[in-house]
Symmetry: C2
Subunit: 223 residues, 2 copies
């Protein structure tokens, strides 16, 4: 008898993710699973997002890291609810880690909940957390061929944010090639160019968030 451990693990994970999703819907949370390589700029993006969403939608963040609470410390300065999960050695968040965290955050005071996954372009894409959308960040310093080399995350994500466009002229990254490669893997992928240094694209990203919130709950803001 052959047991496919991985299939069992993923099925158990999906059941917990579905339960998380129901909790989020009840609390009127739009939930994103934010993924990228280490250092692609997820936390800086969330700092910009916290500033840009102020007065419109209330942001909350669950941060997953193997060690340290540095990202949570950075985000808390923006006056938003932040919960840090330290995974120890796990290279991704799973639905059970999120389930165990939910009671520790007041979800009724959050409109948009972003779950910042562990920096890893591979493993996080396999584990649903209960999110409405997967969103990924690729920074221009990583190279324009990444969609072809790490296809799963590009396939699973609804939106790709191409970050650090302020560094574009110092690299050999081609925006055209990156987008062509990404759409070869996932033809319907939405893509927004952003820079948290110049502010380019942050408004487009915030409009995307508001649009998804409106679609899910039929109102522009919670109030």
């Amino acid at each position: 008898m052959k047991i496919n451990v991985m299939t069992d693990v993923l099925e158990a994970n999906d059941r917990i993710a579905d339960a998380n999703s129901q909790v989020f819907d009840t609390n009127r949370n739009l939930v994103l699973n934010l993924m990228s390589s280490p250092g692609a700029g997820k936390t800086a993006l969330l700092e910009s997002t916290a500033r840009a969403l102020k007065g419109e939608l209330r942001l909350g963040v669950i941060v997953g890291d193997i060690e340290t609470t540095r990202d949570a410390d950075r985000l808390e300065k923006h006056g938003i609810p932040v919960l840090q999960l330290t995974t120890g050695s796990a290279c991704h968040l799973d639905a059970n880690m999120i389930a165990s965290a939910l009671s520790r955050m007041d979800l009724t005071s959050v409109d948009v909940l972003v779950i910042e996954n562990v920096g890893n372009l591979v493993c996080p894409a396999e584990f649903k957390l209960g999110e409405d959308f997967k969103v990924m960040v690729l920074s221009v310093t990583e190279g324009d061929e990444k969609p072809l080399k790490y296809p799963m995350m590009f396939r699973e994500s609804s939106l790709l944010l191409i970050n650090k466009t302020d560094l574009l002229s110092y690299t050999d990254f081609s925006m055209d090639d990156a987008k062509r490669n990404a759409r070869m893997i996932h033809p319907d992928l939405e893509i927004i160019d952003v820079s948290c240094v110049t502010g380019e694209g942050v408004s487009g990203w915030v409009e995307w968030l508001s649009g998804r919130y409106r679609e899910k709950f039929g109102a522009n803001t919670r109030a």
Copy 2:
């Protein structure tokens, strides 16, 4: 009864890694396991290395990627033996993948064998492949706090190459903080700053390789 699947997996892996190591010693190969985040510049570093080692030590490369043969295609242009392993969905190389590849490369014609692992700052650090040394690349665009957030790879590596120093002035990366953080995790870690664009540090890295080869085999070059 509780079975620790991960411990069993790692023990089985280590046995195969030991066997790989014996094959490498017999063939007089210095073997490095080269690890980093996606896009940190492992392949560009190996292209510089191939040029710099020419006439001194014969380089061979085994490249692990989830998909595509792009890295192997780039390296083959330098006239060195290259073997591409496509892992499909595996987020790291393991000793068995290397074992199955060894018969497909003429190891007697290689002095320094570099195994370029899958781009991932987490999982590859757990799996020995039979290497003499683990070497990791951190690019300055990833952030100087990475040693604290992903400690295992920094702890397991003998040498840290801090890459893309040509981009240093366009980022808020602090070399001092990065080195302090890395040595907090691993006090004896050797560190070399490199840029494959300006060529900074490439000679230091090649000297490191020659030194390790000399230590293992008691000769500066194979001939």
